[in-house]
């Protein structure tokens, strides 16, 4: 038979291409797994707020600012007037505090860069978890040591389900903990 280009293509080019694509895809997929799940995301914030200082060194409780965490679905980022509770006097000459002051007085929205987010079709409820005794660090990592907030755990459905299926493994500090819901409607309404 005449050696046509089609022959060459099918015998050599196609398998070669497939092989190259597959190998690169597989390697990239597994190597980038953590990064794709958002782990390591550490955006720069409009005001350089340091959790290490406030939550770590000064020991302010998470719930002082993130007030919704036991009451409802959202943990709530503190509204600026909570910051001003202290910062009307505390360190009011520092440049970051002056920035904060400007936001407070002008009424302009303070656009924090969101770090932890579950997709919009999934409904995550903080109060259900916190009221069962789960510590903030179990999902958000050691925030008290972070100058800039970084996402340390993967927020994919698989990661959530791992803990729902074996809560004792991930939450050793809780003496009795039931398995979390594993059915769709718990999160996907």
């Amino acid at each position: 038979m005449k050696k046509t280009i089609l022959d060459y293509t099918l015998k050599v080019r196609v398998p070669l291409t497939i092989f190259v694509v597959a190998i690169s895809f597989i390697i990239t997929f597994y190597v980038s797994r953590e990064e794709r799940d958002g782990v390591g995301y550490q955006p720069e914030q409009p005001i350089h707020y340091s959790h290490k200082l406030h939550a770590g060194k000064m020991g302010i409780d998470c719930q002082y600012c993130h007030t919704g965490v036991t009451k409802e679905r959202h943990a709530l980022i503190p509204s600026v007037n909570i910051c001003m509770n202290c910062h009307t006097v505390a360190r009011k000459d520092r440049p970051e505090i002056i920035k904060l002051r400007e936001y407070y007085e002008s009424g302009k929205l303070l656009p924090w860069k969101r770090v932890h987010k579950v997709p919009e079709y999934a409904y995550f409820n903080h109060s259900v978890h916190v009221n069962k005794g789960i510590d903030c660090e179990s999902c958000h990592g050691n925030i008290r040591e972070m100058e800039v907030v970084k996402q340390v755990k993967s927020f994919t459905m698989n990661a959530c389900l791992d803990c729902h299926r074996e809560p004792q493994k991930y939450l050793p500090y809780l003496s009795e903990v039931k398995e979390g819901p594993k059915y769709c409607a718990a999160c996907h309404r």
């Binding site: 046509t4 280009i5 089609l6 990064e35 794709r36 958002g38 995301y41 955006p43 007030t67 919704g68 036991t70 009451k71 409802e72 679905r73 959202h74 709530l76 980022i77 503190p78 509204s79 600026v80 007037n81 936001y103 407070y104 009424g107 302009k108 929205l109 303070l110 656009p111 924090w112 860069k113 969101r114 770090v115 932890h116 987010k117 997709p119 919009e120 079709y121 999934a122 409904y123 409820n125 109060s127 259900v128 009221n131 069962k132 059915y183 769709c184 409607a185 718990a186 996907h188 309404r189």
Partner: protein, 1019 residues
């Protein structure tokens, strides 16, 4: 050559039957591709180029964007006190959809109202409102709302508009010309006071209150009968026998939310000996009629004769509880029930039952005449109730407060005449639309041109604002202060829950500014202060309470109403002189016309509310349109089909209307609903229906909604009427009574039930599953719908729409069957087209244990939760629609379009409409299947509360949107694994059945068979 043997040939060769050329069997002739040499092709083809281009673009795009970016999150700068983002707040207020002023509870999220339910504490509506009230939250975010005051086509500011108007009004008064203030009936005592002050300030001002559908005939009759126009409310729950004359009291008249609750409390299967019996005598097929036990067809102009015939029979039997005057007896001798039955060809047995029941249940029955009937019928009914002692059921403590004398078409004729004679210098449209409501033949809009100053205080543009000098936007009810006193025993308050969205002002505050004569006098708190003062004077001071006014005021706002002390009612004595002893002309037999209001869009003010337009008519299931409903016999006689346009003429006025063949309408009668055909309106309301206001009866002295002697004429045109249900021809054997044969609707009479209590379940089959049953050990959610209580008012549909962000699809998509209601009311006919029995059934996702939809989803987007819910995971759905195919109840709705921007100019895509969405429910995109979720967001809320409070989930704490809305309490939801829950009682009851039980899908919605309270076993 015969026809069959005729052969065709293309060439001589073929004709001579030579061998078919070889080329006929090959696709291409030998040698066609000989010259094609792939190696001679260009190195780069267009195909290759595109492939390269798209691959590189894809790489570039993915590389350039940060897939990590989760956007921003901006908190409040100063969080408003009492507002927790993510938790709803509830505010008590008063509905403004109609004049009944039901108490409402507005649910807000982050400061914006997203759901309206009834005020649970309110003594009249007790936590329920109607479908219009449920969907009224949308009107706050209506994109057609006016945003700033305008003078003609130019934007102006309030200050200059106010000062100009005050100036002009003063000049008009000085010149002796009059000022007309046109309003809807004012049920607010403070507003009444305000209008009086306005009249004092501008001495030539006159106030005209009107309403397209009013109860003035009844008020006048009551005034004549008892000396006061105070109409009592009816104790429907104490009535054993109800005779409703041309009255849709369960859906259209007075406070039908209250009436439904009271009526349905007497259709409780747990107390089946206590059922009431409803007789309906009317010409059309109304919602009340579908719930009746006996139907009698009587023309509206023959109702007077009917009442008098009944009266004469009662008196003849000596059953009167009062002394009947001899003059009355003399008049009654001209009437006889038997001759009435013969004349109008009624079923003598039914009428006999009626008269027997009325006579045997004196003091426990009620004869109730509809608002559309003329005053003399009401007076006759009053006398009949007196004779039967039924006045015991009149509740004067909760009487309807008289809103004062209203303007009728006669008064408008005089007014329009005065306009044309330039006797009026100014007209103020106080949140009204007279140019639409007044028949166009009276030329109101033209007459306005002779008035110098026309000011409209409206929320959106309407037909009356086109001739405006000034158009001033007013606050929506949710942005306003106010009060209302629709009933004698309750003073309701209205408070604003949201700061005005636009540069609008409260309409009362605008008048107040004009009264104080200076545009600077206005401040935002003006009417609030005025209201507090008026409340202090009229309510607080009269109540002699121990608390101070401020505490009283805050408590009143918290509750939403103040219950007033019982006032001593003087004894109501029937004034016999009211009863007209003269001979009445008998009813005609030519075509009669009956006008009634729309079920959902009011008198047209809600025409832009897509949700309300799309809820299908409870009987005909037509949406987005009105029509002329005629009897099947009339249609056959005139050779008309659904959609044919006929010209209906009343006197000199005529309107072209499409025909709807409505089984149950009396022959030679036409019923039409008004409120449609708005022309100056937002995008949703355009081209919705036909303006039939020209058909109002302008003859003085007659009821404007009833005309006899109309003529109809075929025009040969056609108009598309869309319906959410096919029009099953009743006489087609295949579909006739299939709902009874397949056990979808199971009905019996009370007598049959007593004889055979298991009738609802006796035809159920023993079911065997080939798979092992799923065990539900903990909470299992189930629902029961009591068909005895359900009146098919469709409030559940409206509530579900609002709660679950169900999109409005528009008329063209409803024509394709793509309406998105998660719960629908199916309406079935049985019997004959002339005298049908109508059965209704709310149908929603049954959350089958053995769901046929779950098995067939190729991507497992729908499956079952351990608490019995059929879950729908929107993000997984690829849009195969196999599940909808498999669903035997056809309750799955598919998003064929991205309905959020399906309308040509992206109807939902503006800065206000998306604010109405419930943030707890996902917005579905194109290509995704959706269905009732048993309000899983409310179940999740209850789980959240249970975990926070450290307790178990309580089934009765979860109230689905449909359950919360149902005025009849027909829907019950809860834990079927709890033997004490209400829903378990219904599930166990022998009247509880499952629809399409024999399919072994094991639905979790139990329907309770309807029992009609007739005398025998025949329905």
């Amino acid at each position: 050559m015969s026809k069959e043997n005729k052969k065709y040939w293309k060439s001589i060769d073929e004709y001579n039957k030579k061998e078919l050329p070889v080329s006929k069997s090959d696709e291409f002739m030998e040698g066609t591709t000989d010259e094609f040499d792939p190696s001679k092709l260009d190195g780069l083809s267009r195909r290759k180029f595109l492939a390269l281009l798209s691959a590189s673009t894809a790489f570039a795009v993915t590389a350039c964007s940060d897939y990590h970016d989760q956007k921003e999150l901006a908190p409040y700068i100063k969080r408003p006190d009492g507002l927790l983002p993510g938790k709803p707040n509830y505010y008590a207020s008063t509905c403004s959809g109609c004049s009944q002023a039901c108490g409402i509870l507005i649910k807000t999220r982050e400061g914006r109202p997203i759901k309206v339910d009834g005020n649970d504490l309110h003594p009249i509506n007790k936590g329920k409102i109607c479908a219009t009230g449920q969907a009224s939250v949308y009107n706050l975010y209506d994109p057609s709302r006016l945003q700033f005051p305008t003078k003609g086509k130019n934007k102006v500011d309030w200050a200059s508009a106010d000062s100009d108007i005050i100036n002009k009004l003063d000049k008009i008064v000085k010149s002796g010309k009059k000022i007309a203030v046109i309003t809807h009936p004012i049920n607010s005592p403070t507003e009444k006071k305000l209008l009086d002050e306005f009249k004092q300030r501008y001495s030539t001002a006159e106030v005209y209150s009107y309403e397209l559908f009013n109860n003035c005939n009844k008020k006048f009759a009551w005034f004549k009968s008892y000396g006061s126009p105070e109409i009592p409310s009816i104790k429907w729950d104490e009535a054993d026998i109800i005779l409703s004359l041309e009255s849709d009291f369960l859906a259209k008249e007075a406070n039908h939310v209250e009436a439904t609750r009271l009526f349905s409390s007497r259709r409780d299967i747990m107390k089946s000996d206590h059922f009431n019996r409803l007789y309906v005598a009317e010409a059309g097929m109304s919602l009340t009629n579908t719930n009746s036990d006996y139907r009698i067809q009587v023309r509206p102009d023959a109702q007077y004769d009917f009442v008098l015939s009944l009266m004469s029979e009662v008196v003849k039997r000596g059953a009167s509880v009062i002394n009947v005057d001899s003059s009355v007896k003399k008049k009654l001798s001209n009437y006889s029930l038997d001759s009435f039955v013969t004349k109008w060809n009624l079923d003598a047995i039914k009428v006999n039952y009626l008269i027997d029941d009325l006579v045997n249940n004196k003091g426990k029955a009620i004869v109730y005449a509809g608002d559309v009937l003329p005053a003399d019928v009401h007076i006759a009914v009053n006398l009949l109730n007196e004779i039967l002692g039924n006045t015991k059921l009149y509740d004067y403590d909760k009487a309807y407060v008289n809103t004062g004398r209203q303007a009728h078409l006669d008064d408008f004729k005089v007014l329009i005449n005065s306009f044309n004679k330039s006797e009026f210098g100014a007209v103020i449209h106080y949140d009204v639309n007279p140019a639409f409501h007044i028949p166009s033949s009276m030329n109101y809009a033209d007459a306005l041109k002779n008035v110098g100053l026309v000011v409209s205080l409206v929320e959106s543009e309407n037909e009356s604002t086109v001739s405006d000098t000034y158009t001033l936007p007013i606050n929506h009810a949710f942005e306003s202060w106010g009060d209302a006193q629709a009933r004698k025993n309750v003073y309701s308050l209205r408070q604003p829950v949201i700061a005005p969205l636009y540069n609008s002002r409260q309409r009362e505050a605008i008048l107040l500014t004009w009264i104080t004569s200076s545009s600077e006098a206005y401040n935002d708190d003006m009417y609030h202060q005025y209201l507090m003062e008026s409340c202090r004077e009229n309510i607080y001071n009269k109540m002699k309470l121990a608390v101070d006014f401020k505490s009283f005021w805050f408590a009143a706002l918290h509750d939403g109403y103040v219950e007033l002390n019982k006032q001593s009612t003087k004894k109501h004595v029937f004034d016999l002189t009211a009863f007209d002893l003269r001979k009445h002309s008998s009813a005609s037999t030519d075509f009669g016309l009956l006008l009634s209001r729309s079920y959902f869009i009011g008198d047209g003010r809600f025409a832009n509310n897509g949700w309300l337009q799309e809820i299908p008519h409870p009987i005909s299931k037509a949406a987005w349109d009105n029509y002329a409903a005629i009897a099947p016999s009339t249609a056959k006689k005139m050779d008309l089909e659904i959609g044919d346009v006929i010209k209906v003429s009343v006197g000199d006025n005529s309107v072209n209307l499409p025909v709807m063949i409505q089984p149950g309408v009396l022959q030679d009668m036409i019923t039409v609903e008004l409120g449609y055909g708005r022309t100056v309106i937002g995008d949703a309301g355009k081209d919705a229906g036909i303006n039939a206001n020209d058909l109002l009866n302008q003859q003085s002295g007659s009821s404007p909604w009833i005309t006899s002697g109309v003529s109809i004429e075929k025009t040969g045109e056609e108009y598309e009427l869309v319906s959410t249900q096919e029009h099953h021809p009743l006489d087609e054997d295949f579909v006739k009574d299939f709902h009874l044969k397949r056990g979808i609707i199971r009905e019996a009479t009370l007598t049959e039930y007593k004889k055979n209590p298991e009738f609802a379940r006796e035809h159920d089959e023993e079911l065997v599953s080939i798979t092992s049953e799923h065990k539900f050990t903990e909470t299992k959610w189930g629902m029961a719908i009591d068909m005895n209580k359900c009146v098919s008012c469709a409030t559940c549909v409206a509530s579900c729409d609002v709660e679950n962000n169900v999109p409005v699809v528009g008329k063209d998509q409803v024509a394709n069957g793509r309406e998105m209601h998660w719960i629908r009311i199916d309406r079935y006919y049985s019997g004959t087209p002339e005298d049908p029995i109508v059965s209704n059934q709310p149908m929603l996702c049954q959350h089958c244990d053995n769901a046929p939809c779950e098995n067939v989803c190729p991507v497992n987007a729908t499956n079952h939760s351990p608490d019995g819910l059929n879950q729908m995971v929107y993000n997984r759905c690829v849009g195969t629609r196999y599940c909808a195919n498999n669903c035997p109840y056809k309750v799955r709705r598919f998003n064929f379009f991205n309905f959020l921007d399906h309308f040509a100019d992206s109807y939902y895509e503006n800065e206000v409409t998306p604010l109405v969405y419930n943030p707890e429910v996902t917005i579905r995109s194109r290509g995704v299947m959706e269905k009732c979720s048993f309000c899983v967001q409310k179940i999740s809320e209850e789980r959240e509360d249970a975990i926070r409070e450290g307790r178990e989930i309580k089934g009765e704490n979860v109230v689905t949107a449909c359950q919360q809305a149902c005025p009849a309490d027909a829907i019950v939801f809860g834990d079927v694994n709890d033997p004490n829950s209400r829903v378990s009682q219904y599930k166990k009851h022998n009247l509880g059945y499952l629809v399409l039980q024999n399919l072994n899908v094991r639905p979790n919605v139990t329907y309770v068979a309807k029992l009609r309270n007739t005398h025998s076993e025949d329905t």
